[in-house]
Symmetry: C2
Subunit: 316 residues, 2 copies
Protein backbone atom coordinates (compact mmCIF):
# COMPACT_ATOMS: atom_id res chain seq x y z
CA UNK A 1 0.00 0.00 0.00
CA UNK A 2 1.69 3.17 -1.17
CA UNK A 3 1.63 6.31 0.93
CA UNK A 4 2.34 9.85 -0.25
CA UNK A 5 3.04 12.52 2.37
CA UNK A 6 3.04 16.28 1.74
CA UNK A 7 5.80 17.46 4.03
CA UNK A 8 7.45 20.44 5.68
CA UNK A 9 10.28 19.93 8.16
CA UNK A 10 10.25 18.73 11.76
CA UNK A 11 6.60 17.63 12.16
CA UNK A 12 6.64 15.88 8.81
CA UNK A 13 9.93 14.16 9.60
CA UNK A 14 8.49 12.74 12.81
CA UNK A 15 5.34 11.55 11.10
CA UNK A 16 7.37 9.95 8.32
CA UNK A 17 9.39 8.07 10.93
CA UNK A 18 6.06 6.64 12.05
CA UNK A 19 4.83 5.93 8.54
CA UNK A 20 7.88 3.81 7.69
CA UNK A 21 7.28 1.80 10.86
CA UNK A 22 3.71 1.19 9.74
CA UNK A 23 4.31 0.33 6.06
CA UNK A 24 7.29 -0.71 3.98
CA UNK A 25 9.52 2.32 3.43
CA UNK A 26 9.90 1.54 -0.26
CA UNK A 27 6.20 2.29 -0.72
CA UNK A 28 6.46 5.76 0.87
CA UNK A 29 7.03 9.01 -1.01
CA UNK A 30 7.35 12.40 0.68
CA UNK A 31 6.75 15.52 -1.38
CA UNK A 32 8.76 18.15 0.38
CA UNK A 33 8.54 21.92 0.66
CA UNK A 34 11.40 23.78 -1.02
CA UNK A 35 10.06 27.30 -0.46
CA UNK A 36 12.50 27.61 2.47
CA UNK A 37 15.46 26.85 0.21
CA UNK A 38 18.00 29.59 0.01
CA UNK A 39 21.46 30.41 -1.17
CA UNK A 40 23.91 31.36 1.55
CA UNK A 41 27.52 32.26 0.85
CA UNK A 42 27.15 30.62 -2.56
CA UNK A 43 25.80 27.37 -1.11
CA UNK A 44 22.31 26.06 -1.76
CA UNK A 45 20.48 25.00 1.38
CA UNK A 46 17.28 22.92 1.50
CA UNK A 47 16.26 22.95 5.15
CA UNK A 48 13.15 20.76 4.99
CA UNK A 49 14.73 18.09 2.79
CA UNK A 50 17.71 17.94 5.14
CA UNK A 51 15.62 17.87 8.31
CA UNK A 52 13.68 14.88 7.00
CA UNK A 53 16.82 13.12 5.76
CA UNK A 54 18.77 13.62 8.97
CA UNK A 55 15.77 12.65 11.12
CA UNK A 56 15.06 9.42 9.26
CA UNK A 57 18.79 8.60 9.20
CA UNK A 58 18.84 8.90 12.98
CA UNK A 59 21.48 11.59 12.55
CA UNK A 60 19.51 14.67 13.59
CA UNK A 61 20.55 16.64 16.64
CA UNK A 62 17.52 15.98 18.79
CA UNK A 63 18.30 18.73 21.33
CA UNK A 64 18.62 21.46 18.73
CA UNK A 65 15.88 20.00 16.55
CA UNK A 66 17.77 20.66 13.34
CA UNK A 67 21.12 19.83 11.79
CA UNK A 68 23.37 16.87 12.47
CA UNK A 69 24.39 15.36 15.77
CA UNK A 70 28.07 15.47 16.80
CA UNK A 71 28.24 18.77 14.97
CA UNK A 72 31.07 21.30 15.21
CA UNK A 73 31.03 24.98 14.27
CA UNK A 74 34.56 25.78 13.18
CA UNK A 75 33.59 27.23 9.79
CA UNK A 76 31.13 29.63 11.44
CA UNK A 77 33.73 30.68 13.96
CA UNK A 78 36.09 31.67 11.15
CA UNK A 79 33.31 33.34 9.19
CA UNK A 80 32.31 35.43 12.20
CA UNK A 81 35.90 36.54 12.68
CA UNK A 82 35.47 38.33 9.36
CA UNK A 83 31.86 39.46 9.69
CA UNK A 84 32.48 40.88 13.16
CA UNK A 85 35.70 42.53 12.05
CA UNK A 86 33.94 44.15 9.12
CA UNK A 87 30.95 45.26 11.21
CA UNK A 88 28.62 43.03 9.22
CA UNK A 89 26.23 41.27 11.63
CA UNK A 90 24.00 40.69 8.60
CA UNK A 91 26.43 37.97 7.51
CA UNK A 92 26.88 34.87 9.59
CA UNK A 93 23.55 34.77 11.42
CA UNK A 94 22.60 31.52 9.74
CA UNK A 95 24.34 28.66 11.49
CA UNK A 96 25.96 26.14 9.20
CA UNK A 97 27.54 23.26 11.08
CA UNK A 98 30.71 21.72 9.73
CA UNK A 99 29.16 18.27 9.15
CA UNK A 100 26.06 19.84 7.63
CA UNK A 101 28.21 21.95 5.28
CA UNK A 102 29.23 18.78 3.46
CA UNK A 103 25.60 18.29 2.40
CA UNK A 104 25.42 21.85 1.08
CA UNK A 105 28.74 21.47 -0.74
CA UNK A 106 27.47 18.34 -2.46
CA UNK A 107 24.10 19.84 -3.35
CA UNK A 108 25.69 23.00 -4.71
CA UNK A 109 28.24 21.08 -6.75
CA UNK A 110 25.59 18.89 -8.32
CA UNK A 111 23.18 21.76 -8.99
CA UNK A 112 26.05 23.67 -10.59
CA UNK A 113 26.47 20.61 -12.82
CA UNK A 114 22.80 21.11 -13.81
CA UNK A 115 21.61 18.02 -11.97
CA UNK A 116 17.98 18.60 -10.93
CA UNK A 117 17.32 18.89 -7.20
CA UNK A 118 15.23 15.72 -7.28
CA UNK A 119 18.22 13.72 -8.52
CA UNK A 120 20.56 15.32 -5.99
CA UNK A 121 18.06 14.55 -3.26
CA UNK A 122 17.97 10.91 -4.33
CA UNK A 123 21.77 10.80 -4.09
CA UNK A 124 21.70 12.29 -0.62
CA UNK A 125 19.00 9.98 0.71
CA UNK A 126 20.77 6.97 -0.82
CA UNK A 127 23.96 7.90 1.01
CA UNK A 128 22.01 7.87 4.28
CA UNK A 129 20.35 4.55 3.36
CA UNK A 130 16.83 5.92 3.56
CA UNK A 131 14.32 3.44 2.24
CA UNK A 132 11.64 5.93 1.26
CA UNK A 133 11.58 8.40 -1.64
CA UNK A 134 11.97 12.11 -0.95
CA UNK A 135 10.87 14.37 -3.78
CA UNK A 136 11.19 18.13 -3.75
CA UNK A 137 7.80 19.56 -4.73
CA UNK A 138 9.59 21.08 -7.73
CA UNK A 139 13.04 21.12 -9.29
CA UNK A 140 12.47 24.79 -10.05
CA UNK A 141 13.48 27.50 -7.65
CA UNK A 142 10.75 28.56 -5.20
CA UNK A 143 11.20 31.32 -2.66
CA UNK A 144 8.74 31.88 0.14
CA UNK A 145 8.54 35.61 0.85
CA UNK A 146 6.99 37.12 3.97
CA UNK A 147 5.72 40.70 3.71
CA UNK A 148 5.76 42.88 6.83
CA UNK A 149 3.59 45.93 7.62
CA UNK A 150 6.48 48.22 6.67
CA UNK A 151 6.64 46.60 3.24
CA UNK A 152 9.80 44.61 3.89
CA UNK A 153 10.04 41.37 1.95
CA UNK A 154 11.76 38.76 4.09
CA UNK A 155 13.09 35.48 2.82
CA UNK A 156 11.90 32.54 4.85
CA UNK A 157 15.28 32.12 6.54
CA UNK A 158 15.47 35.83 7.39
CA UNK A 159 12.01 35.57 8.94
CA UNK A 160 12.47 32.23 10.67
CA UNK A 161 16.12 32.13 11.71
CA UNK A 162 17.40 35.69 11.73
CA UNK A 163 14.29 37.36 13.12
CA UNK A 164 13.15 34.27 15.08
CA UNK A 165 9.68 34.80 13.56
CA UNK A 166 9.11 37.69 15.94
CA UNK A 167 7.82 40.05 13.28
CA UNK A 168 4.31 40.68 12.05
CA UNK A 169 3.47 39.22 8.66
CA UNK A 170 0.81 40.66 6.39
CA UNK A 171 1.12 38.31 3.44
CA UNK A 172 2.99 35.22 2.35
CA UNK A 173 4.04 34.97 -1.29
CA UNK A 174 5.71 32.09 -3.07
CA UNK A 175 8.12 33.46 -5.63
CA UNK A 176 8.61 31.28 -8.68
CA UNK A 177 5.47 29.27 -8.06
CA UNK A 178 3.63 30.44 -11.17
CA UNK A 179 6.34 29.08 -13.48
CA UNK A 180 7.27 26.03 -11.42
CA UNK A 181 6.59 22.49 -12.58
CA UNK A 182 6.14 19.56 -10.22
CA UNK A 183 9.32 17.50 -9.94
CA UNK A 184 9.30 14.24 -11.91
CA UNK A 185 7.23 11.66 -10.06
CA UNK A 186 5.33 14.11 -7.88
CA UNK A 187 1.97 13.99 -9.63
CA UNK A 188 2.19 10.23 -10.12
CA UNK A 189 3.02 9.72 -6.43
CA UNK A 190 -0.10 11.64 -5.46
CA UNK A 191 -2.28 10.03 -8.10
CA UNK A 192 -1.13 6.47 -7.45
CA UNK A 193 -1.01 6.57 -3.63
CA UNK A 194 -3.28 4.40 -1.58
CA UNK A 195 -3.29 7.19 0.97
CA UNK A 196 -2.22 10.83 0.77
CA UNK A 197 -1.30 12.40 4.09
CA UNK A 198 -0.85 16.13 4.68
CA UNK A 199 1.70 16.16 7.50
CA UNK A 200 1.30 18.33 10.62
CA UNK A 201 3.50 21.04 9.11
CA UNK A 202 2.84 24.77 8.90
CA UNK A 203 -0.13 25.12 6.51
CA UNK A 204 1.00 28.56 5.34
CA UNK A 205 4.76 28.37 4.87
CA UNK A 206 5.41 24.62 4.63
CA UNK A 207 2.42 22.97 2.93
CA UNK A 208 1.39 26.22 1.19
CA UNK A 209 4.44 26.36 -1.13
CA UNK A 210 4.01 22.66 -2.01
CA UNK A 211 0.41 23.30 -3.05
CA UNK A 212 1.42 26.48 -4.87
CA UNK A 213 3.26 24.49 -7.54
CA UNK A 214 0.77 24.35 -10.42
CA UNK A 215 -0.81 20.93 -10.67
CA UNK A 216 -0.15 19.72 -7.13
CA UNK A 217 -3.23 21.22 -5.48
CA UNK A 218 -5.50 19.80 -8.18
CA UNK A 219 -3.81 16.39 -7.94
CA UNK A 220 -4.40 16.28 -4.20
CA UNK A 221 -7.97 17.54 -4.49
CA UNK A 222 -8.64 14.73 -6.98
CA UNK A 223 -7.65 12.27 -4.24
CA UNK A 224 -9.71 13.96 -1.52
CA UNK A 225 -11.44 10.73 -0.53
CA UNK A 226 -8.06 9.09 0.15
CA UNK A 227 -6.44 12.17 1.64
CA UNK A 228 -6.08 12.77 5.38
CA UNK A 229 -4.53 15.83 7.04
CA UNK A 230 -3.05 16.03 10.53
CA UNK A 231 -3.61 19.32 12.36
CA UNK A 232 -0.35 21.03 13.36
CA UNK A 233 -2.32 23.17 15.80
CA UNK A 234 -2.88 21.55 19.18
CA UNK A 235 -4.80 23.41 21.86
CA UNK A 236 -4.68 26.54 19.70
CA UNK A 237 -0.89 26.54 19.50
CA UNK A 238 1.78 25.28 17.14
CA UNK A 239 3.99 22.64 18.73
CA UNK A 240 6.95 24.37 17.12
CA UNK A 241 7.39 27.47 15.03
CA UNK A 242 5.07 30.32 14.15
CA UNK A 243 2.07 28.51 12.59
CA UNK A 244 -0.34 29.77 15.24
CA UNK A 245 0.72 33.39 14.95
CA UNK A 246 0.87 33.26 11.15
CA UNK A 247 -2.60 31.77 10.91
CA UNK A 248 -4.02 34.60 13.05
CA UNK A 249 -2.12 37.33 11.23
CA UNK A 250 -3.34 36.09 7.90
CA UNK A 251 -7.00 35.97 8.98
CA UNK A 252 -7.35 32.30 9.85
CA UNK A 253 -8.35 30.80 13.16
CA UNK A 254 -5.43 29.37 15.10
CA UNK A 255 -7.15 26.11 15.91
CA UNK A 256 -7.87 22.70 14.46
CA UNK A 257 -11.00 24.29 12.99
CA UNK A 258 -8.94 26.91 11.21
CA UNK A 259 -6.76 24.15 9.79
CA UNK A 260 -9.88 22.25 8.69
CA UNK A 261 -11.12 25.25 6.75
CA UNK A 262 -7.77 25.47 4.91
CA UNK A 263 -7.69 21.78 3.97
CA UNK A 264 -11.39 20.99 3.54
CA UNK A 265 -11.21 20.93 -0.26
CA UNK A 266 -8.13 18.72 -0.28
CA UNK A 267 -8.63 16.12 2.42
CA UNK A 268 -11.69 14.17 3.54
CA UNK A 269 -10.36 13.61 7.06
CA UNK A 270 -8.68 15.82 9.65
CA UNK A 271 -6.86 14.17 12.53
CA UNK A 272 -6.87 16.39 15.61
CA UNK A 273 -5.34 15.92 19.02
CA UNK A 274 -7.27 14.66 22.02
CA UNK A 275 -6.96 18.03 23.75
CA UNK A 276 -9.07 19.44 20.92
CA UNK A 277 -11.76 16.74 21.07
CA UNK A 278 -14.41 19.39 21.77
CA UNK A 279 -13.72 20.90 18.34
CA UNK A 280 -14.60 17.74 16.44
CA UNK A 281 -18.14 18.82 15.55
CA UNK A 282 -16.97 22.20 14.35
CA UNK A 283 -14.28 20.51 12.23
CA UNK A 284 -16.91 18.27 10.67
CA UNK A 285 -18.98 21.33 9.75
CA UNK A 286 -16.27 22.09 7.16
CA UNK A 287 -17.20 18.87 5.39
CA UNK A 288 -14.25 16.87 6.71
CA UNK A 289 -14.56 13.82 8.87
CA UNK A 290 -12.76 14.34 12.19
CA UNK A 291 -10.57 11.72 13.88
CA UNK A 292 -9.42 12.40 17.44
CA UNK A 293 -6.22 10.75 18.66
CA UNK A 294 -2.83 11.62 20.18
CA UNK A 295 -0.89 13.71 17.64
CA UNK A 296 2.02 14.96 19.74
CA UNK A 297 4.82 12.72 18.51
CA UNK A 298 6.95 12.41 21.62
CA UNK A 299 8.49 9.20 20.32
CA UNK A 300 8.41 6.73 17.42
CA UNK A 301 5.63 4.64 18.97
CA UNK A 302 3.28 7.64 19.06
CA UNK A 303 4.30 8.55 15.53
CA UNK A 304 3.62 5.00 14.32
CA UNK A 305 0.21 4.98 16.00
CA UNK A 306 -0.59 8.33 14.41
CA UNK A 307 0.49 7.02 11.00
CA UNK A 308 -1.66 3.93 11.42
CA UNK A 309 -4.54 6.17 12.48
CA UNK A 310 -4.15 8.21 9.31
CA UNK A 311 -4.18 5.10 7.13
CA UNK A 312 -7.18 3.65 8.92
CA UNK A 313 -9.04 6.95 8.69
CA UNK A 314 -9.31 6.62 4.92
CA UNK A 315 -9.93 2.89 5.10
CA UNK A 316 -6.46 1.68 4.21
CA UNK B 1 61.56 52.25 3.09
CA UNK B 2 58.73 50.60 1.21
CA UNK B 3 59.07 47.08 -0.11
CA UNK B 4 56.93 45.46 -2.78
CA UNK B 5 57.02 41.67 -3.12
CA UNK B 6 55.69 39.68 -6.10
CA UNK B 7 54.38 36.58 -4.42
CA UNK B 8 53.12 33.06 -4.91
CA UNK B 9 52.29 30.86 -1.92
CA UNK B 10 54.56 29.06 0.54
CA UNK B 11 57.99 30.42 -0.46
CA UNK B 12 56.65 33.95 -0.69
CA UNK B 13 54.88 33.65 2.66
CA UNK B 14 58.13 32.62 4.34
CA UNK B 15 60.07 35.43 2.73
CA UNK B 16 57.38 37.95 3.71
CA UNK B 17 57.66 36.76 7.31
CA UNK B 18 61.32 37.73 7.06
CA UNK B 19 60.64 41.03 5.30
CA UNK B 20 58.30 42.23 8.07
CA UNK B 21 61.01 41.41 10.61
CA UNK B 22 63.45 43.54 8.63
CA UNK B 23 61.24 46.57 7.92
CA UNK B 24 58.01 47.98 9.31
CA UNK B 25 55.12 45.82 8.10
CA UNK B 26 53.05 48.88 7.20
CA UNK B 27 55.56 49.68 4.46
CA UNK B 28 55.28 46.23 2.85
CA UNK B 29 52.95 45.33 -0.01
CA UNK B 30 52.70 41.85 -1.47
CA UNK B 31 51.24 41.46 -4.97
CA UNK B 32 49.86 37.97 -4.96
CA UNK B 33 49.15 35.38 -7.65
CA UNK B 34 45.47 34.66 -8.21
CA UNK B 35 45.91 32.33 -11.18
CA UNK B 36 45.43 29.40 -8.78
CA UNK B 37 42.05 30.73 -7.67
CA UNK B 38 39.18 28.45 -8.36
CA UNK B 39 35.55 27.86 -7.62
CA UNK B 40 34.78 24.65 -5.77
CA UNK B 41 31.26 23.62 -4.76
CA UNK B 42 30.17 27.22 -5.33
CA UNK B 43 32.90 28.64 -3.10
CA UNK B 44 35.70 30.86 -4.31
CA UNK B 45 39.12 29.81 -3.13
CA UNK B 46 42.31 31.90 -3.30
CA UNK B 47 45.06 29.52 -2.21
CA UNK B 48 48.06 31.86 -2.40
CA UNK B 49 46.34 34.75 -0.63
CA UNK B 50 45.24 32.39 2.12
CA UNK B 51 48.63 30.70 2.49
CA UNK B 52 50.28 34.09 2.99
CA UNK B 53 47.56 35.30 5.37
CA UNK B 54 47.57 32.18 7.50
CA UNK B 55 51.39 32.02 7.55
CA UNK B 56 51.83 35.64 8.65
CA UNK B 57 49.02 35.24 11.21
CA UNK B 58 50.92 32.31 12.73
CA UNK B 59 47.85 30.21 12.00
CA UNK B 60 49.15 27.99 9.22
CA UNK B 61 49.41 24.26 9.75
CA UNK B 62 53.17 23.92 9.58
CA UNK B 63 53.18 20.13 9.19
CA UNK B 64 50.81 20.13 6.23
CA UNK B 65 52.25 23.34 4.82
CA UNK B 66 48.83 24.74 3.92
CA UNK B 67 45.54 25.53 5.61
CA UNK B 68 44.88 26.37 9.22
CA UNK B 69 46.20 24.71 12.34
CA UNK B 70 43.79 22.93 14.70
CA UNK B 71 41.79 22.07 11.61
CA UNK B 72 38.97 19.52 11.44
CA UNK B 73 37.54 17.83 8.35
CA UNK B 74 33.89 17.17 9.16
CA UNK B 75 32.49 18.90 6.08
CA UNK B 76 34.73 16.84 3.79
CA UNK B 77 33.69 13.65 5.57
CA UNK B 78 30.05 14.39 4.85
CA UNK B 79 30.80 15.44 1.28
CA UNK B 80 32.68 12.21 0.62
CA UNK B 81 29.75 10.20 1.96
CA UNK B 82 27.85 11.52 -1.04
CA UNK B 83 30.63 11.50 -3.64
CA UNK B 84 31.63 7.95 -2.75
CA UNK B 85 28.02 6.80 -2.71
CA UNK B 86 27.44 8.35 -6.12
CA UNK B 87 30.67 6.90 -7.56
CA UNK B 88 32.06 10.38 -8.13
CA UNK B 89 35.72 10.42 -7.04
CA UNK B 90 36.06 13.55 -9.18
CA UNK B 91 34.22 15.45 -6.44
CA UNK B 92 35.78 15.86 -3.04
CA UNK B 93 39.46 15.48 -3.93
CA UNK B 94 40.18 19.05 -2.87
CA UNK B 95 40.46 19.19 0.89
CA UNK B 96 38.60 22.04 2.52
CA UNK B 97 39.09 22.14 6.27
CA UNK B 98 36.22 23.27 8.47
CA UNK B 99 38.07 26.32 9.84
CA UNK B 100 39.34 27.20 6.38
CA UNK B 101 35.80 26.95 4.96
CA UNK B 102 34.85 30.04 6.95
CA UNK B 103 37.32 32.07 4.88
CA UNK B 104 35.84 30.76 1.65
CA UNK B 105 32.29 31.44 2.86
CA UNK B 106 33.22 35.04 3.64
CA UNK B 107 35.07 35.58 0.37
CA UNK B 108 32.22 34.08 -1.65
CA UNK B 109 29.59 36.12 0.16
CA UNK B 110 31.47 39.35 -0.41
CA UNK B 111 32.30 38.61 -4.05
CA UNK B 112 28.63 37.77 -4.58
CA UNK B 113 27.94 41.25 -3.20
CA UNK B 114 30.22 42.59 -5.96
CA UNK B 115 32.98 43.57 -3.56
CA UNK B 116 36.29 43.40 -5.44
CA UNK B 117 38.72 40.71 -4.33
CA UNK B 118 41.22 43.37 -3.22
CA UNK B 119 38.69 44.78 -0.75
CA UNK B 120 37.72 41.32 0.52
CA UNK B 121 41.40 40.50 0.94
CA UNK B 122 41.87 43.65 3.02
CA UNK B 123 38.96 42.57 5.25
CA UNK B 124 40.47 39.14 5.71
CA UNK B 125 43.96 40.38 6.50
CA UNK B 126 42.53 42.98 8.92
CA UNK B 127 40.68 40.23 10.79
CA UNK B 128 44.00 38.41 11.24
CA UNK B 129 45.74 41.64 12.28
CA UNK B 130 48.31 41.52 9.52
CA UNK B 131 50.32 44.72 9.34
CA UNK B 132 51.27 44.51 5.69
CA UNK B 133 49.12 45.01 2.58
CA UNK B 134 48.18 42.01 0.45
CA UNK B 135 46.95 42.86 -3.01
CA UNK B 136 45.70 40.32 -5.52
CA UNK B 137 47.52 40.99 -8.78
CA UNK B 138 44.09 41.68 -10.26
CA UNK B 139 40.47 41.88 -9.16
CA UNK B 140 39.55 40.19 -12.41
CA UNK B 141 39.29 36.46 -12.73
CA UNK B 142 42.48 34.72 -13.84
CA UNK B 143 42.74 31.00 -14.44
CA UNK B 144 46.05 29.27 -14.90
CA UNK B 145 45.60 26.39 -17.34
CA UNK B 146 48.10 23.59 -17.84
CA UNK B 147 48.03 21.78 -21.18
CA UNK B 148 49.08 18.14 -21.33
CA UNK B 149 50.44 16.14 -24.30
CA UNK B 150 47.00 14.60 -24.83
CA UNK B 151 45.48 18.06 -25.14
CA UNK B 152 43.80 18.08 -21.73
CA UNK B 153 43.44 21.50 -20.16
CA UNK B 154 43.91 21.21 -16.39
CA UNK B 155 43.04 23.91 -13.92
CA UNK B 156 45.86 24.66 -11.52
CA UNK B 157 44.14 22.84 -8.66
CA UNK B 158 43.46 19.79 -10.83
CA UNK B 159 47.13 19.74 -11.79
CA UNK B 160 48.57 20.56 -8.40
CA UNK B 161 46.23 18.92 -5.88
CA UNK B 162 44.25 16.27 -7.72
CA UNK B 163 47.05 15.01 -9.97
CA UNK B 164 49.82 15.89 -7.48
CA UNK B 165 51.66 17.54 -10.43
CA UNK B 166 52.63 14.10 -11.72
CA UNK B 167 51.59 14.80 -15.29
CA UNK B 168 53.60 16.18 -18.18
CA UNK B 169 52.86 19.77 -19.12
CA UNK B 170 53.41 21.15 -22.59
CA UNK B 171 52.24 24.71 -22.09
CA UNK B 172 50.97 27.02 -19.37
CA UNK B 173 48.27 29.52 -20.27
CA UNK B 174 46.75 32.23 -18.11
CA UNK B 175 43.08 32.54 -18.96
CA UNK B 176 41.64 36.01 -18.52
CA UNK B 177 45.03 37.69 -18.49
CA UNK B 178 44.57 39.63 -21.71
CA UNK B 179 41.54 41.46 -20.33
CA UNK B 180 42.68 41.72 -16.71
CA UNK B 181 43.57 45.02 -15.08
CA UNK B 182 45.97 45.35 -12.16
CA UNK B 183 44.10 45.65 -8.86
CA UNK B 184 43.94 49.18 -7.44
CA UNK B 185 47.29 50.06 -5.88
CA UNK B 186 49.32 47.40 -7.65
CA UNK B 187 51.12 49.60 -10.17
CA UNK B 188 51.70 52.33 -7.58
CA UNK B 189 53.13 49.80 -5.11
CA UNK B 190 55.64 48.66 -7.72
CA UNK B 191 56.42 52.16 -8.93
CA UNK B 192 56.82 53.70 -5.48
CA UNK B 193 58.67 50.86 -3.77
CA UNK B 194 62.19 51.38 -2.51
CA UNK B 195 62.81 47.75 -3.35
CA UNK B 196 60.87 45.27 -5.47
CA UNK B 197 61.45 41.62 -4.59
CA UNK B 198 60.43 38.67 -6.75
CA UNK B 199 59.84 35.99 -4.14
CA UNK B 200 61.24 32.44 -4.49
CA UNK B 201 57.97 31.22 -5.94
CA UNK B 202 57.38 29.11 -9.03
CA UNK B 203 58.40 31.38 -11.96
CA UNK B 204 55.94 29.70 -14.33
CA UNK B 205 52.72 29.17 -12.40
CA UNK B 206 53.08 31.62 -9.47
CA UNK B 207 55.02 34.66 -10.67
CA UNK B 208 54.05 34.09 -14.31
CA UNK B 209 50.34 34.85 -13.83
CA UNK B 210 51.19 38.00 -11.82
CA UNK B 211 53.38 39.26 -14.67
CA UNK B 212 50.73 38.25 -17.22
CA UNK B 213 48.37 40.99 -16.02
CA UNK B 214 48.90 43.78 -18.56
CA UNK B 215 50.96 46.59 -17.06
CA UNK B 216 52.63 44.66 -14.27
CA UNK B 217 55.58 43.28 -16.24
CA UNK B 218 56.35 46.72 -17.66
CA UNK B 219 56.03 48.33 -14.22
CA UNK B 220 58.52 45.86 -12.76
CA UNK B 221 60.90 46.19 -15.71
CA UNK B 222 60.88 49.96 -15.19
CA UNK B 223 62.19 49.34 -11.66
CA UNK B 224 64.84 46.82 -12.76
CA UNK B 225 67.62 48.64 -10.93
CA UNK B 226 65.71 48.34 -7.65
CA UNK B 227 64.38 44.86 -8.29
CA UNK B 228 65.89 41.70 -6.85
CA UNK B 229 64.72 38.14 -7.45
CA UNK B 230 65.33 35.12 -5.24
CA UNK B 231 65.85 31.82 -7.04
CA UNK B 232 63.31 29.16 -6.06
CA UNK B 233 65.62 26.52 -7.56
CA UNK B 234 68.31 25.29 -5.19
CA UNK B 235 70.76 22.65 -6.34
CA UNK B 236 68.69 22.17 -9.47
CA UNK B 237 65.54 21.32 -7.54
CA UNK B 238 62.47 23.14 -6.27
CA UNK B 239 62.25 23.14 -2.47
CA UNK B 240 58.55 22.42 -2.84
CA UNK B 241 56.26 21.81 -5.77
CA UNK B 242 56.88 21.19 -9.43
CA UNK B 243 58.93 24.25 -10.46
CA UNK B 244 61.97 22.15 -11.46
CA UNK B 245 59.98 19.76 -13.59
CA UNK B 246 57.87 22.51 -15.15
CA UNK B 247 60.96 24.55 -16.07
CA UNK B 248 62.46 21.56 -17.86
CA UNK B 249 59.24 20.59 -19.60
CA UNK B 250 58.78 24.12 -20.89
CA UNK B 251 62.32 24.35 -22.28
CA UNK B 252 64.05 26.19 -19.47
CA UNK B 253 67.02 25.05 -17.43
CA UNK B 254 66.08 23.84 -13.96
CA UNK B 255 68.79 25.80 -12.21
CA UNK B 256 69.49 29.24 -10.82
CA UNK B 257 70.81 30.07 -14.28
CA UNK B 258 67.51 29.11 -15.85
CA UNK B 259 65.74 31.36 -13.35
CA UNK B 260 68.16 34.18 -14.17
CA UNK B 261 67.34 33.94 -17.86
CA UNK B 262 63.61 34.26 -17.04
CA UNK B 263 64.01 37.30 -14.79
CA UNK B 264 67.00 39.08 -16.42
CA UNK B 265 64.87 41.82 -17.98
CA UNK B 266 62.96 42.45 -14.76
CA UNK B 267 65.49 42.32 -11.94
CA UNK B 268 69.06 43.56 -11.68
CA UNK B 269 70.02 41.06 -8.98
CA UNK B 270 69.43 37.33 -8.50
CA UNK B 271 69.95 35.87 -5.05
CA UNK B 272 71.00 32.22 -5.26
CA UNK B 273 71.71 29.69 -2.57
CA UNK B 274 75.20 28.85 -1.35
CA UNK B 275 74.96 25.36 -2.81
CA UNK B 276 74.75 27.03 -6.22
CA UNK B 277 77.74 29.34 -5.66
CA UNK B 278 79.52 27.81 -8.65
CA UNK B 279 76.74 29.11 -10.93
CA UNK B 280 77.30 32.76 -9.98
CA UNK B 281 79.40 33.58 -13.05
CA UNK B 282 76.89 31.98 -15.37
CA UNK B 283 74.06 33.91 -13.68
CA UNK B 284 75.96 37.16 -14.21
CA UNK B 285 76.33 36.36 -17.93
CA UNK B 286 72.56 37.04 -18.18
CA UNK B 287 73.25 40.63 -17.17
CA UNK B 288 72.08 40.22 -13.56
CA UNK B 289 74.30 40.71 -10.56
CA UNK B 290 74.47 37.54 -8.48
CA UNK B 291 74.33 37.45 -4.69
CA UNK B 292 75.09 34.16 -2.95
CA UNK B 293 73.61 33.51 0.49
CA UNK B 294 71.45 30.99 2.38
CA UNK B 295 67.98 30.96 0.79
CA UNK B 296 66.43 27.88 2.40
CA UNK B 297 64.11 29.50 4.94
CA UNK B 298 64.16 26.92 7.71
CA UNK B 299 63.08 29.53 10.24
CA UNK B 300 62.26 33.22 10.64
CA UNK B 301 65.87 34.19 11.33
CA UNK B 302 67.02 32.79 7.98
CA UNK B 303 64.05 34.47 6.30
CA UNK B 304 64.93 37.79 7.92
CA UNK B 305 68.56 37.49 6.87
CA UNK B 306 67.46 36.67 3.33
CA UNK B 307 65.13 39.67 3.31
CA UNK B 308 67.92 41.95 4.55
CA UNK B 309 70.21 40.47 1.90
CA UNK B 310 67.66 41.32 -0.79
CA UNK B 311 67.36 44.91 0.43
CA UNK B 312 71.12 45.33 0.67
CA UNK B 313 71.59 43.83 -2.79
CA UNK B 314 69.93 46.83 -4.39
CA UNK B 315 71.55 49.25 -1.99
CA UNK B 316 68.58 49.80 0.35
Amino acid sequence: MSVCVLAGGVGAARLLAGVIRAVDASSVTAIVNVGDDDELHGLRISPDLDTITYTLAGAIDTDRGWGLSDESWQAMETLRRYSTGAGRPDIGWFNLGDRDLGTHLWRTTRLNEDAPLSRVTAEITAAWNLGLTLLPATDDRLATVLMTPSGDALSFQEYFVRDQHEVEVTEVLVGGAAEARPAPGVLDAIGDAGVVIIAPSNPIVSIGPVLAVPGIRDAVAARRDRCVAVSPIVGGKALKGPADRLLRELGHESSAVGVARIYAELASVLVIDEVDAALADEVEETGMRCVVMPTVMTGPEVAEALARGCLAAVGA
